[in-house]
């Protein structure tokens, strides 16, 4: 049952491992490079993810649904989007960190639009990344990019969120019974 559901990851993982091992054995450089890319990223992930998941676990246990709903849920108004942008600014890592956080927020009844805004904004305005961007491309470039993209992200996220919520869309259940 569990095997059948994870058939794709298993097949892909096995094929990839075999490919890399054979590449190493016969000295096929592209394969070796892909293997080292994989290991590099895997290590990076394993470094970031444990504390993230611990914080998410604590969040689920301690933070009341009503609190999240009051600040980020329906009827919380525009301020909730400001929170979403602020949270995104404080995110470390990329989508692989933002996604579990987004899911945890949604489970606690944050509005879908706010969750989507947080996800997309996490790509644009993570603070350390912004400093980097401005130092290489100039503050003018970063400024324009922010001023145009953040409002667009908020508007499109709000619309998408409303649209999907109206159609009764639910996120996949990751609870695992």
């Amino acid at each position: 049952m569990a095997v059948r559901r994870h058939i794709w990851p298993i097949v892909l993982g096995t094929l990839f491992t075999a490919f890399v091992l054979i590449s190493v054995a016969v000295g096929f450089d592209p394969g070796k490079e892909m293997g080292s890319n994989f290991l590099g990223f895997l290590l990076q992930m394993l470094k970031v993810l444990p504390p993230v998941f611990v914080v998410i676990g604590l969040f689920e246990v301690w933070v009341k649904t009503e609190t999240v709903e009051r600040h980020l849920g329906h009827g919380s108004g525009l301020k909730s989007y400001a929170w979403a942008i602020l949270m995104a600014g404080g995110t470390v890592g990329g989508l692989h960190v933002a996604l579990p956080v987004a899911h945890a927020l949604r489970v606690k009844r944050a509005r879908l639009g706010v969750v989507l805004a947080m996800l997309s904004a996490a790509g644009i305005c993570r603070i350390p990344m912004t400093l980097f961007e401005a130092s290489f491309l100039g503050w003018k470039f970063t400024g324009v990019r922010f001023l145009v993209s953040l409002p667009l992200v908020i508007v499109t996220s709000a619309l998408l969120g409303r649209w999907f919520e109206r159609s009764g869309y639910e996120l996949p259940d990751l609870e695992g019974r």
Binding site: F16, V144, V148
Partner: protein, 160 residues
Amino acid sequence: MIVLYVMAAVLLVISLLANREKTVKALRIALRRFTKIAPAFVVMLVLVAVALYLLPEQTVLHTLTPESRWMAVAAGLGVGSISVMPGFIAFPLCGTLLSRGAPYMALSAFSTALMMVGIVTFPLERTYLGWRLALARNVTSLLVALAVAVATGIFFGEIL
């Protein structure tokens, strides 16, 4: 990175002092969430590893500096959507591209699409959001990236 560990550790200790049972429950949830999503992570990592090989910096450099600005923008959107790289690699690369004559609007398209649109991270995103919402979010993000690129072009006097 260290900040994250310190934060997690501090919260964990506070939680442990406040309520042991709840803390154990929190760690159980953390572990279950992690194992549940691990397969999707493996898929993403394999795709990332392959994409990184197929689109090394040289290729990006080559694709983003064509004759036509609009071609450069289109290339920026495309390459940005496919590739995955951390900001500390992407922005120095953008700096190099700029000095090699890539227009600002193409760099804007590339960096925005890179951070907001993810083809190789799609399997992971689908696991969390479901494929319909994940697809909708990526398509709108691509449009946002295009709009941002056009705005950058106008602001830097590259178009109009």
